[in-house]
């Protein structure tokens, strides 16, 4: 299957990432050069501790490369200040965390509205409606007024996905989104991601879930901080 000619949404150019550790410098990512096209569904796989999450953090601007360049949706992330990155992230990236990270004191609906309040692009009176629509999409309309502690892990993760879509970002980044879920629940989340992929969102995901990885259009294997394999089922067109 081939993708029509699409723009690059993510570009990594000769990216290195070092961390100081116990008096020495540990290089976590070595010379990563990588392009991701808009609409791709990329699964990043590999053994634990090999740099997968670090790579994800670089794509969201949560972390900066030691050397090299990271360009996401046209923005050179390492050149942006912390506040600018925060603002940019709100409108361009939706993040789904492994541990859901819903704010415990807010209802599911309020958690979904929160990014819209931060980004403040959508008029106030429309935010609640949009949040309800998103929760409907993930099958949680009836749980909208519940607190995270009152719903299951799977429901929390689906709410987190709805939250990630709040400002309709072009890029969704997920770090082990099914890592804390049982198989059945993971399957329901997997369906959601497949649906997002069909809607043309660019998805980049770290996962140990074989099924989820197989559903991706591209599988990147990271070992010892390097791209060990880059299996794009859409390449070669």
């Amino acid at each position: 299957m081939c993708l029509p000619a699409m723009k690059k949404i993510i570009e990594l150019k000769n990216v290195y990432k070092d961390y100081p550790q116990a008096g020495t410098i540990q290089t976590v990512l070595h010379d990563i050069t990588l392009d991701i096209l808009a609409g791709e569904f990329v699964a990043i796989v590999g053994p634990s501790g090999n740099g997968k999450s670090t790579l994800l953090n670089l794509l969201t601007g949560i972390d900066h490369p030691t050397r090299g360049e990271v360009i996401v949706d046209g923005a050179r992330l390492q050149k942006m200040s912390g506040e600018k990155l925060t603002s940019w992230r709100g409108g361009h990236v939706g993040i789904v965390f492994q541990f859901f990270q819903l704010l415990p004191a807010l209802t599911l609906l309020q958690n979904v509205i929160l990014p819209m309040d931060f980004h403040a692009v959508l008029p106030k009176r429309q935010r609640r409606q949009r949040a309800m629509q998103l929760l409907e999409r993930v099958g949680l309309a009836e749980e909208a007024e519940r607190l995270p502690s009152q719903v299951s892990g799977g429901q929390q993760q689906r709410a987190a996905i709805a939250r990630a879509l709040a400002n309709d970002p072009p890029l969704i980044v997920a770090d082990e989104p099914t890592g804390n879920l049982d198989a059945a629940t993971a399957a329901s989340v997997f369906e959601l991601f497949a649906h997002l992929r069909d809607q043309g969102k660019t998805l980049v995901m770290v996962t140990h879930n074989e099924e989820l990885a197989d559903a991706a259009t591209r599988k990147l294997e990271i070992r010892s901080g390097r791209i060990h394999a880059d299996d794009s089922r859409l390449s070669g067109c």
């Binding site: 949560i62 925060t86 992230r89 709100g90 993040i95 004191a105 807010l106 990014p115």
Partner: protein, 804 residues
């Protein structure tokens, strides 16, 4: 901010303990500020208002003998005199309804109650004295339980008479009976003759000078009046000068108020320390939420505003809670203190300044205290905020940490070694929690040392007074007769006679300014006196060889005030003659500037040579083997009876029994020391609240650690003991640090407190027993503070803990 209002509300409501802790901390500080500043403002304002209302005399002369009313015109003619009023205080023996014993009291006679000019007596209930109807001063009425209509038996020249209480009055210048003052009654001039007071005479002159008022002018006019009176053979025992606008008690409050203000601000500062601590922990606990909000697009300013709003809401609640009780406390506390000065505090009043301070301090101070942890938290990067590595790290990096770990490993079981390590894990928070407890401890120990120093000072002063009783006579008596009567009382071992005379001292052309608020008097005593020796600060005390020499011993404070050195010569006017005298020494005056006459000591032999007043006795100092207050009371009763039987009238103001005087002197400090101890207790309570908060937050932060401990076999009891021990260690460390701090700070601080608040220069004593008391208190406080958090920790399940 729309959705974030829900987060703000949830943060405040869902963790009620933390919110309550923060609100109560701020409220405690605001309460202290409002109460203390309110007290200060209300006291001073009401004191001065009451003072002005009484039309205070500028010069109040208490005469040594009665003066004829014909002198009034001459006194009024003295340059600078604007007006004169008179009063006659008499010492009387009275018996209250149902009593068998006679007591000494004061009867004041005023010529015309409806036309008083100065130092006005105010009618509170009933009617003015007339005929055989007398009035009673309100403090006396309260103390003795007297009411209008009661009959009081008094001894007159012709036997006893029952006089009816027709009114209750307030007089601006009475010593409260609680502090050793006599009961005061008021009578019309028609009764004067019954008590041997000649008609148309007076014993107290109340004089006002022409404006403008100045202390130099009033002193000069007072001196001129004394000269005039001396020419008419009228002696002046006491000269009291009053500022027309400021109550005479102001200096007493000045020192106290300064200290109270500092304490109020200190309590607010301590509350802010707690806020800092609490909010730091709150932010730490919400680190991952901050990270998520930032990942979702929340800016640093938005997040900072969120937590500042939470702080502001808590501060507002605290202010709302604290203001009403604080206003009430300020009013009622100041009423209590004003009552000591016989001032009616009137209707409920508030200090606007105190309200402003409470609002400003209560809202601004917590915001400022919260700013650092909030900004620190809000400006965290997403990566730092959401990173989570195991159960937490940080301890062990420094040499100190490893030393603590070695101590724990060597001396404590593993679990309790963990408690020791946990104590030092977050050093910043440890310091903040400790600081409140250390300050509370140091303050407690300093105050206990202040009390010990007061007691030591009074004991030392008593040791310098080798007499058991000092009898003062309303009029000078024959030395021989006094000695005979005194020695006839069982127990009397020795009698020494002193004389008291009015004195004017000047150096060059300038009259000496005295520290004593009632002026100075000459106390003439045998040069080789065996009965009394004050603490000599410079020079020397009187010696046998001084008999016949013109030498003086002055108070050190007066000497300093007037730039007098030992060896200087001063001009002394005694009765009508002025001569040069040499200053041979300075004594430390225990009473300072309190409401009392300042003694100037001189050899009686010399004074008698000059005045020709052979064997006059103003005082008799008696030595007797007295050990207890009860023995002293019996002895004094016997003496009074004997002297009354011999028709010698004692002066209630100058008759003193040593042990009773010590008790009255000590009583005067109790309200003040009680206030300070109350404040120390409040600070200790704040420290306890802070400790409880720190430990509760520690439980929350180490919740996963608790789960791991349980998973590897720690019982609920062990978990409970772990947190309890950590709390106790907090207390013990605070105790260990507060003791040396107090030890070094106590002497200068107690000395300063003694001078400013009590008007005394204290002999210092550090209270070692209080160190033990503080240890017991801090252990109890720590136990209480840690019980609840320890209980919470012990009741967490593994699932709850590890799932957090």
């Amino acid at each position: 901010m729309h959705t974030l209002w829900n987060k703000i509300w949830a943060d405040l409501w869902l963790v009620k303990a933390r919110t309550a802790l923060a609100i109560s901390s701020i409220a405690a500080g605001v309460f202290c500020v409002g109460t203390l500043f309110g007290m200060i403002d209300l006291q001073l304002a009401k004191m001065d208002a009451a003072h002005r209302q009484s039309q205070p005399s500028h010069i109040n002369l208490i005469l040594g003998n009665s003066a004829d009313n014909s002198l009034l015109g001459k006194i009024e003619a003295v340059e600078g005199v604007a007006g004169i009023d008179t009063m006659t205080p008499l010492t009387v023996r009275y018996r209250l309804p149902g009593q068998s014993d006679w007591n000494m009291g004061t009867l004041i006679i005023r010529p015309d109650y409806s036309a008083q000019q100065f130092d006005r007596t105010t009618l509170l209930a009933g009617s003015w004295p007339s005929g055989k109807h007398i009035a009673v001063e309100r403090l006396s009425a309260d103390y003795a339980g007297l009411r209008i209509g009661d009959r009081v038996e008094v001894e007159t020249l012709n036997g006893t008479q029952a006089l009816t209480l027709g009114g209750i009055v307030r007089h601006p210048f009475v010593k409260p009976p609680n502090f050793g003052g006599q009961l005061h009654f008021f009578a019309a001039s028609a009764l004067a003759a019954e008590f041997g007071q000649p008609a148309d005479t007076f014993r107290q002159a109340l004089v006002n000078i022409t404006l403008p008022y100045s202390t130099d002018r009033v002193r000069a006019v007072a001196k001129d009046i004394r000269v005039l009176l001396a020419e008419h053979k009228i002696g002046v025992n006491v000269t009291l000068l009053q500022d027309p606008d400021k109550h005479w008690g102001r200096p007493i409050f000045a020192g106290i108020n300064g200290v109270l203000q500092i304490m109020a601000l200190a309590s607010l500062a301590l509350a802010c320390v707690l806020i800092f601590n609490t909010l730091s922990a709150h932010i730490t606990q919400q680190t991952d939420q901050i990270g998520v909000m930032k990942a979702l697009g929340g800016s640093t300013i938005t997040i900072a505003k969120l937590y500042l709003t939470e702080t502001l809401l808590m501060a507002t609640a605290a202010v709302a809670l604290a203001v009403p009780p604080s206003l009430a406390a300020a009013h009622f506390s100041s009423c209590g203190l004003l009552n000591l000065f016989n001032i009616d505090c009137g209707v409920f009043d508030i200090s606007n300044r105190a309200v402003a301070f409470m609002l400003l301090g209560g809202l601004l101070a917590p915001l400022l205290a919260a700013l650092v942890p909030i900004l620190r938290g809000a400006s965290m990067t997403v990566r730092v905020a959401i990173a989570s590595y195991g159960l937490g790290s940080g301890f062990g990096a420094r040499r100190f940490d490893r030393w603590v770990e070695r101590i724990g490993a060597r001396f404590l079981p593993t679990l309790y070694a963990a408690a020791l390590g946990n104590l030092f894990r977050r050093k910043g928070r440890l310091l903040l929690t400790q600081s409140v407890l250390i300050i509370a401890g140091a303050m407690f120990l300093i105050l206990m040392s202040l009390i010990a120093s007061v007691n030591l000072t009074l004991d030392n002063e008593m040791a310098r007074s080798r007499y058991a009783v000092r009898l003062g006579f309303a009029n000078d008596q024959s030395e021989q007769k006094v000695t005979e009567v005194a020695m006839s009382v069982a127990g009397s071992r020795r009698v020494e006679i002193w004389q008291r005379l009015p004195i004017d001292i000047s150096k060059g052309d300038a009259a000496l300014r005295q520290q004593g608020s009632l002026g100075a008097q000459l106390f003439a005593l045998p040069a080789a006196t065996a009965m009394y020796r004050p603490l000599i600060e410079q020079g020397r005390w009187l010696e046998a060889a001084d008999a016949g020499r013109r030498v003086l011993v002055l108070s050190a404070d007066t000497a300093a005030l007037n730039g007098i050195e030992v060896g200087d010569t001063v001009d002394v006017r005694l009765e009508t003659s002025t001569q040069k005298w040499k200053v041979i020494g300075f004594y430390r005056w225990l009473a300072g500037s309190n409401y009392t006459v300042e003694p100037v000591y001189a050899p009686m032999e010399t004074v008698r040579d000059i005045t020709g007043r052979g064997e006059a006795a103003s005082f008799a100092l008696l030595d007797a083997p007295i050990g207890t207050l009860a023995e002293e009371a019996d002895y004094v009763r016997a003496l009074k009876q004997k002297f009354e039987d011999n028709h010698i009238k004692l002066d209630v103001y100058t008759t003193q029994a040593r042990l009773e005087q010590r008790r009255f002197a000590r009583n005067q400090f109790n309200p003040l020391i009680g206030t300070l101890l109350g404040l120390a207790s409040m600070i200790a309570a704040v420290g306890g609240i802070g400790l409880s908060g720190t430990l509760s937050i520690g439980v929350l932060q180490r919740i996963r650690e608790i789960g791991v401990l349980r998973a590897i076999g720690a019982s609920s009891k062990a978990i409970f003991r772990l947190f309890l021990l950590e709390g106790l260690l907090h207390g013990i460390v605070a105790w260990a640090l507060s003791v040396p701090l107090a030890f070094f700070a106590a002497e200068p601080i107690a000395g300063e407190l003694g001078k400013t608040m009590l008007g005394m220069q204290l002999d210092y004593a550090f209270d070692l027993v209080a160190v033990v008391y503080w240890l017991v208190i801090v252990i109890a406080l720590s136990w209480l503070a840690s019980s609840w958090p320890a209980h919470k920790a012990a009741n967490l399940t593994i699932r709850e803990s590890l799932g957090h």
